[in-house]
């Protein structure tokens, strides 16, 4: 049994290598790394609106902002109005106090802003105030930072690196659909499935070996892309485990639905639909508020969120274990179906 499994895996790895699948995976990993590091900006955060309350006698800051004519500045007339405007989650407050000129400036954040965003805003503000106080010959005001909901929202990773889990999901995990399917259809077309069927080896060994080979291929992609982008950051053990489990489940899934296709072109057309459906949870990745039930039951959903947690821990490791658990349950459901479908495919679909 073990010898057969080893031989089958070795065969699959040879076929993967000699069909240039490995080369494609390596090239893709390098391309994704280049795109991540050099083409996608690290920060794509939208500029939040600024709510300004200037209660100094000279109203110098208010005049400054009004002259600048910034479309994203809301000038509050009172403290109540200021507080009301700050109830919206995408607003940052600037409260300027002093008898005539600014003596104290309080910047109020919602809590979701990155430290980099905060520092950039404060530096810009200090520049404006310095110009103002220098011209008026007054002292530089006191700066104070207030965070409305500290710790409620985790530190956001740079935008380009935040895409890495999505790249890993789409290539390392979903590539199993194309590659496992292509290998299977090739076996159908060149009838090697029949040669296999007249040996004592069974469908279980075939399924395990094919899943292992696809898992290894997914790991190669993940390791390469990780090293070139996120480096040693994140929980590598969990990342690799999730990628491997995800690749295995998508391979099992593919071996089931590939049963209905007799040639590669039919299979590729069908795979586009499968990949479209399985990729839908990527939308929730960028808009977590959009997570309908039908999307959460897709096997790809927990993989995507598990990967995000493994890459950028938010103190909720349950996301990874939940993902692994859901993948395990999915595998338990899919394996009997795969065994049945694979048995049929290995006989050339004639039984």
């Amino acid at each position: 049994m073990f010898r057969r499994l080893l031989s089958l895996t070795q065969r699959d790895l040879r076929l993967i290598t000699r069909n240039y699948y490995l080369a494609i995976v390596v090239i893709l990993a390098l391309l994704y790394a280049l795109v991540t590091r050099f083409l996608i900006p690290a920060d794509l955060s939208p500029q939040p609106a600024v709510v300004l309350l200037d209660s100094t006698g000279a109203q110098a800051m208010r005049q400054l902002y009004e002259r600048a004519g910034g479309g994203n500045v809301i000038v509050a007339g009172s403290a109540d109005e200021y507080d009301r405007h700050l109830e919206a989650a995408n607003r940052i407050g600037i409260k300027v106090t002093g008898s005539v000129m600014p003596e104290r400036i309080e910047v109020t954040y919602q809590g979701w802003e990155t430290e980099k965003t905060r520092r950039l805003l404060e530096a810009s503000l200090q520049g404006q105030v310095a110009a103002l106080t220098g011209a008026m010959g007054t002292a530089f005001p006191v700066f104070q930072r207030t965070v409305l909901r500290p710790g409620q929202v985790a530190e956001q990773p740079p935008f380009n690196l935040a895409l890495v889990p999505i790249f890993i999901f789409s290539e390392a995990v979903l590539m199993g659909i194309f590659l496992a399917g292509a290998l299977l259809i090739a076996e159908k077309e060149d009838r090697t499935n029949r040669a296999y069927q007249v040996t004592p080896a069974g469908t279980a060994e075939y399924l395990v070996a094919r899943s292992l080979a696809m898992g290894v291929l997914a790991l190669v992609f993940t390791v390469l892309l990780n090293l070139l982008t996120t480096g040693l950051a994140g929980n590598w053990a969990m990342i690799l485990l999730l990628v491997f489990a995800g690749a295995v489940v998508t391979t099992i899934f593919t071996l089931i639905y590939a049963a209905v296709f007799m040639n590669l072109s039919q299979f590729l057309a069908g795979s586009i639909l499968a990949i479209f459906v399985l990729s839908l949870p990527a939308g929730s990745y960028f808009m977590p508020a959009f997570s309908p039930v039908w999307m959460r039951v897709l096997p790809s959903y927990p993989i995507i969120f598990g990967l995000r947690e493994a890459y950028f821990p938010s103190g909720n490791p349950g996301l990874v274990t939940t993902a692994l658990g859901q993948l395990g349950i999915t595998a338990l459901v899919l394996v009997p179906l795969a065994m049945w479908a694979l048995g049929k495919q290995l006989r050339g679909g004639e039984a």
């Binding site: 076929l15 009838r191 040669a195 069927q197 004639e350």
Partner: protein, 285 residues
């Protein structure tokens, strides 16, 4: 070793049978030729016997295994050579054989020795995708011997082979028969069947129309002739006499007494002629 009783098979699971009411047995160490034109049901029969198609109706036993539920151990005992070469194109000939050898749970033959046996030793490390049709077929033939089968299913084993290799294949089959191997040979090459088969079954439109030794079939359906070359007024002449007709036999006796006969050749019907006579169909097509 192989027992088939009243077997029916329909691809559409309707009354359109590819195999219809077939019964036969193959003894240990016997070579049974299954002969018929394309579409006669030969390959369907072999697929059922090798577990690639299910037994729908009837009884099939191979090496003691009921083919309704054969169990994987059956495949340690049988070898199957397919008509259409089905090798992994991206693996070398040697890798192909080594891979399949590792699938068995019984001692297997040395892949290199098998490649040598079929004349592929020089191409052992070349990818199977670069093999010619004949080489690919020989690789399939070699693969079917990996587990030293006791029952050997051969589907057109000489397809695409030159005369020398065809002869070599026939020799190997006969050597295996001497070892006690039972052979189920599917072919429409009558010469191969005639040369190596102990018995042949004629199959047509899914039915066995006759099953016997080649000699008995030819005696039963074929007509024996004698071709005589003789001199008549200095000219060489040729005449054919049927041994089944009294008139021809008398004419032959008279000719031998009256003319200087130079050659006499007896000629019997070929299996192909017998097949056409029995089924009304030619073997190819």
């Amino acid at each position: 070793m192989i027992k088939v009783r009243d077997l029916y098979f329909s691809y559409g699971r309707d009354k359109n049978y590819a195999v219809s009411g077939v019964s036969f047995e193959v003894e240990k160490g016997e070579i049974l030729g299954f002969l018929g034109p394309n579409g006669a049901g030969k390959s369907t029969m072999q697929k059922i016997l090798t577990g690639l198609l299910p037994v729908q109706q009837g009884e099939v036993t191979v090496a003691g295994h009921d083919m309704r539920r054969p169990g994987r151990d059956l495949f340690n005992k049988i070898g199957v050579s397919f008509e259409i070469a089905n090798n992994y194109h991206k693996l070398s000939g040697l890798e192909n054989l080594a891979f399949f050898a590792s699938m068995y749970e019984v001692p297997t033959a040395d892949p290199m020795a098998l490649l040598r046996m079929v004349g592929l030793e020089d191409a052992a490390t070349r990818r199977a995708g670069a093999y010619s049709k004949g080489m690919s077929q020989r690789l399939v033939f070699a693969r079917s011997m990996l587990n030293r089968p006791t029952i050997w299913f051969l589907d057109e084993p000489t397809s695409g082979q030159d005369p020398a290799m065809t002869q070599r294949v026939k020799e190997i089959v006969l050597e295996e028969r001497e070892r006690g191997v039972t052979v189920f040979l599917t072919t429409h090459n009558m010469q191969v069947a005639e040369d190596i088969c102990d018995r042949v079954a004629f199959i047509n439109e899914g039915k066995i129309v006759d099953l016997d030794t080649p000699r008995n079939l030819k005696l039963r359906y074929g007509e024996q002739f004698v071709i005589v070359e003789y001199r008549d007024a200095g000219q060489l002449k040729k005449q054919i006499f049927s041994m089944g007709a009294d008139k021809d036999r008398a004419a032959l006796a008279a000719l031998v007494g009256e003319r200087p006969v130079e050659t006499i050749h007896s000629q019997e019907a070929t299996l192909e002629e017998v097949f056409i006579k029995v089924t009304g169909r030619a073997l190819r097509g």
